[in-house]
């Protein structure tokens, strides 16, 4: 579809959607948000790009095949689950590392929960885009 209004708006909105998807992913730790909704918002950005331009343009903008992104996401999520094995906990138990932790201060908390969320994000992002690209190419 050729539309000057749509292509101009898309340039702004795609960047906005992708930034907001990362924001939703990182904030999901303590507040509403998380990997799933973040991945959906990110995929929405690329769907908008597909509509404004074409599937081949969107594929070259993404650089990586969305199927590979989805599989990478599932792999990262599984790896974050295995992390618990080193502490002797069951599969998918959250592991915490408090960097620079002092007396009465938590320092910089790092967790395997965030790694799992990043995996979910990539799996949803890649899965939805695989679906949409396939549907668009069929038409």
């Amino acid at each position: 579809m050729q539309s000057l209004i749509l292509t101009t708006a898309t340039r702004l909105l795609v960047a906005l959607l992708l930034v907001f998807s990362i924001y939703a992913l990182l904030r999901g730790h303590n507040l509403p948000g998380g990997g799933f909704i973040g991945g959906l918002i990110g995929a929405t950005g690329f769907i908008l790009y597909v509509i404004a331009t074409s599937v081949s343009d969107a594929r070259s903008a993404l650089r990586v095949d969305p199927t590979n992104i989805a599989m990478l996401g599932v792999g990262i999520a599984a790896l974050s689950g295995i992390m618990g094995a080193f502490a002797g906990d069951p599969f998918l138990t959250g592991q915490w590392l408090f960097l620079f932790a002092a007396e009465g201060e938590k320092g910089l908390p790092l967790s395997s929960v965030l790694v799992f969320d990043v995996g979910v994000y990539l799996a949803v992002f890649g899965g939805i885009l695989t679906l949409v690209f396939a549907m668009e190419e069929e038409i």
Binding site: M1, L13, F20, L31, P32, I37, I41, I47, L48, I51
Partner: protein, 96 residues
């Protein structure tokens, strides 16, 4: 109750009235374009509703709902418009 609470309540009433009127257009709408515009209007009103909810509950999480709804609502309207354009093109080919 402060003045803000009354204003938020009035806002809720007006938004609900707007959704009701838009749904009448959605049901009656003689053409598909009317229905799409009605759906878009309902999305915008839901964004306003989420903003009012954020004010009433003093919870900023509703503002994220508003942002996502506004962005996805735009996408929905674009997709429906594209469908409409494609359908018209197919009809034109059939007639020729």
């Amino acid at each position: 109750m402060t003045f803000l609470d009354y204003a938020v309540l009035l806002g809720f009433a007006l938004v609900i009235l707007g959704v009701a009127l838009a749904s009448i257009r959605l049901i009656k709408g003689p053409t598909l374009a009317d229905r799409i515009v009605a759906l878009d209007m309902m999305t915008v009103q839901l964004v306003a509703f989420a903003g009012l909810s954020a004010l009433q509950s003093r919870n900023a999480a509703f503002l994220d709902v508003a942002v996502v709804l506004a962005l996805v609502g735009f996408l929905a309207t674009v997709c429906l418009a594209r469908y409409l354009e494609r359908r018209n093109a197919i009809n034109r080919e059939d007639r020729e």
